[in-house]
Symmetry: C2
Subunit: 210 residues, 2 copies
């Protein structure tokens, strides 16, 4: 099976969320309608949906309920994936709060920090442990996905701990750019907030020139 591009996966994730909203309004949706509410084009939507093996009906569109089910089957893990998050400052708390209960197949099971005031408490309903306990917890709870929302200078060490403990995916919210060898076979998602701000500044400059 050919792998599907990251872009397509991102769009499928977005389509599903838009479809869940539209479901309240109607039963069927056309590719051009889905495109409109997803900042995309009809052709792009149809191309993306091709990967699902779910066929729409000409002149009628896609049955929203079935399409959601199909995207879910394609995207979601078969069993619930446990997720941990390291660094419970404001950003970590935001992610904990935001994410809890949002995706049924992703379960935030533990968070870690080195602040003794946080260790031992529940944060947004998730138990907080000392960073030292992370490797053990990752193995114990069979965690495949780790989120880093620590300070920048701790990022590298945390990622190494995670990989050594057997993590399969890392989502890094710090601006420290991780560099993971391909041989490790770990999926890495960098969310580079600094770059986003600097990009906005650059294109603002460009826009103002016009």
């Amino acid at each position: 099976m050919n792998s599907v591009s990251q872009r397509t996966i991102e769009r499928l994730s977005l389509y599903r969320r838009r479809l869940m909203i539209e479901l309240a309004e109607m039963d069927y949706i056309f590719s051009h309608q889905l495109a409109k509410i997803s900042n995309s084009t009809a052709a792009q939507v149809r191309r993306d949906l091709m990967h699902l093996g779910y066929a729409g009906v000409p002149r009628k569109g896609y049955k929203i309920k079935d399409l959601i089910r199909c995207i879910s089957q394609f995207l979601d893990p078969a069993k619930i994936e446990n997720v941990v998050i390291v660094g419970v400052g404001n950003l970590g708390k935001a992610l904990l709060t935001f994410f809890t209960g949002r995706r049924p197949k992703l379960s935030l099971v533990a968070c870690f920090d080195i602040d003794e005031n946080k260790v031992g408490t529940d944060i947004a309903g998730v138990p907080c442990f000392h960073l030292n306990e992370m490797p053990q917890k990752i193995k114990e709870l069979k965690v495949n996905i780790g989120v880093i929302s620590s300070t920048e200078n701790a990022t590298k060490a945390i990622s190494e701990m995670m990989i050594a403990a057997g993590i399969k995916s890392i989502i890094n919210f710090t601006c420290f750019p991780l560099n993971i060898a391909d041989s490790e076979n770990v999926f890495l998602e960098q969310i580079d907030i600094t770059a986003s701000f600097e990009k906005a500044a650059y294109f603002t400059k460009l826009n103002l020139k016009k």
Copy 2:
């Protein structure tokens, strides 16, 4: 002058940060070294740097100090850009804390919320006003860049307020996908955390199959 792609801008932002770290260690850097620490390739680095009109020296590389200056001149606004942020929950606070003083040419001058307990206080040193005051403040402080870190259902209304008030760039951290007409000429950066998580879940599934 041909416009430079968003990807290139993101990488230039990253190069600059890596270079600032390397500056402490050495004076010159080769394209393959910069590539290594930026998750890129030597050819890609050289292509990106072409846009700057700054030439490296064969067998010696790029003078880090000059390269940083060049990237800055290219990326940064000529004058300080004022930035505002709407929604001061955990995420908003994280952004305020994270960003304050980090980029000298970007200044977070105000934040907005509807929570009366926050309005009137300073958060991470930034004054918080009621959302109602946003349009006036944007005009008054000549703000071009707006950040949305509100709840999802408020996103659309906030973006419309921002655009009406004359904002040129919006960075949207909520998972509500904004749709801005091209004619508005507003740069939009969506940071879709849900998609990032779902992508990680998908590629984890893929990795485990292998």
